[in-house]
């Protein structure tokens, strides 16, 4: 049995005595006890030494260069700052700004906290949600309806908080470039089905990325989502 577990009516008061927190009557009684108890006197001396040592504990830097690991973990945030502003990207940027102002790190922390058993940021990865649009996906959509749709996507991204790293709608048109035996060919992309937008999200693992993707309003609108993990290097 350790010394601390032996019964001594004064023993549990010695710590407070060392801190000067005993009321005067109790302090005097304890001091009278100390005058006759070598054991408690020795404990008091040791505790004072211990308190002094604790206050003087030197800090030690981590063995490995923690910055390198941290720097790698910070990188996914860059696209948010560099993202172009238009349509739902602009709304996302606004949402991100509000979140940051209110303490996005707290929101992120609370989301992370809710994940069972996950206690560190480490690991995890980025996932791309490619939003495919089938034939006739937005046929007949008015500008007002389109704005409401954009709002809906932006709201969803807002709810993701810091897990949403980037996102945007793709304009119609564009080009297709191919290399062939006869040389490169470039031609304007034909209208029709294709990828209409994307989101880049951060998730702990594929299961979480899937859970996120399932809630995307794109599915309810009749589109389909291609979920692709970003290759870690």
């Amino acid at each position: 049995m350790h010394d601390s577990q032996r019964q001594d009516p004064w023993r549990t008061r010695l710590s407070e005595y060392v801190d000067g927190e005993l009321a005067s009557g109790e302090r005097e009684a304890l001091e009278a006890h100390l005058a006759t108890c070598d054991g408690c006197t020795e404990v008091v001396r040791d505790l004072r030494e211990l308190v002094k040592a604790a206050r003087e504990l030197p800090d030690r830097a981590p063995a490995a260069d923690a910055w390198l690991a941290l720097r790698a973990a910070l990188e996914p945030r860059a696209p948010v700052a560099a993202r172009p502003h238009r349509s739902w990207a602009a709304l996302l940027a606004f949402a991100a700004g509000v979140l940051v102002t209110l303490g996005a790190w707290l929101a992120f922390a609370s989301i992370r906290d809710a994940r069972d058993g996950r206690e560190t940021v480490a690991a995890g990865g980025s996932y791309m949600l490619l939003l495919h649009e089938p034939e006739g996906f937005e046929n007949g959509t008015t500008p007002v309806e389109h704005a409401a749709i954009v709002e809906r996507y932006a709201s969803w991204a807002h709810e993701l908080g810091a897990r949403c790293l980037a996102g945007d709608e793709l304009a119609s048109g564009g080009w297709e470039l191919r290399a062939g035996s006869g040389g490169a060919s470039e031609h304007e992309r034909a209208s029709g089905p294709g990828i209409g937008g994307y989101f880049l999200v951060q998730a702990a693992d594929a299961s979480e990325a899937l859970r996120i993707a399932r809630t995307c309003p794109h599915l309810e609108r009749g589109g389909w989502i291609e979920l692709r993990p970003i290759q870690a290097h």
Binding site: D3, S15, D46, L50, D59, A66, L70, R77
Partner: protein, 197 residues
């Protein structure tokens, strides 16, 4: 100006001079990092990481310290916009680190269990000449007692603040501190002497 726990902590005597001339530099780096300057954030990190990592190691143990420390700086990076410059950047980071690390300790389950005392076994070095140091002894404390000890004796928090942060009574904070100190005393004595550091 508010004192900076990362530079002039309550336990400033701990390592006098080991963090030279970082007061204004730390604030300037934090301001630059707020504007997205990664190099400034690196300087901010390098200037403070020993302090934060040591706190993480003492509260969560060596195994979890690296990840916990990184979590603190990730939150700092994201949370920099919430730093208004009213407090020194070091004070802000220290507060953030305490909040983050205490949340992590809370997630490991209840902090205060009577059964922990029965399970506590002070380290017994196989080599009698080997002395147990205070850092190692702290790490072996029951979680609740360790948390209170680190907050009070190492970080210099008062019992009232500890009680508020851990959602316990002041009396519990005092009794856990007493328990921690006595256990540490025993561990250090049984570990081969009264060496503390």
């Amino acid at each position: 100006m508010e004192s900076d726990p990362l530079i002039q902590p309550a336990r400033a005597s701990a390592c006098p001079g080991s963090l030279p001339d970082r007061g204004t530099g730390l604030d300037a780096d934090a301001r630059a990092a707020l504007a997205g300057d990664l190099a400034a954030f690196e300087r901010f990190h390098r200037a403070t990481v020993a302090r934060v990592h040591s706190l993480a190691r003492r509260l969560l143990g060596t195994e979890r310290a690296d990840d916990a420390c990184q979590e603190v700086y990730l939150r700092a990076w994201r949370g920099l916009p919430s730093w208004r410059g009213e407090a020194a950047a070091g004070t802000w980071l220290h507060r953030l680190a305490l909040n983050t690390l205490l949340n992590l300790t809370a997630r490991a389950g209840p902090r205060f269990e009577d059964a922990e005392l029965a399970r506590y076994e002070p380290a017994r070095p196989s080599d009698p000449a080997q002395r147990l140091d205070l850092e190692a002894a702290i790490e072996r404390l029951p979680r609740g007692a360790r948390t209170v000890f680190v907050l009070h004796d190492v970080e210099g928090l008062e019992h009232g603040e500890i009680a508020a942060r851990l959602s316990i009574s002041v009396g519990t904070s005092k009794s856990q501190l007493s328990r921690a100190r006595l256990l540490l005393r025993d561990a250090l004595r049984e570990g081969g002497g009264k060496r503390h550091a």
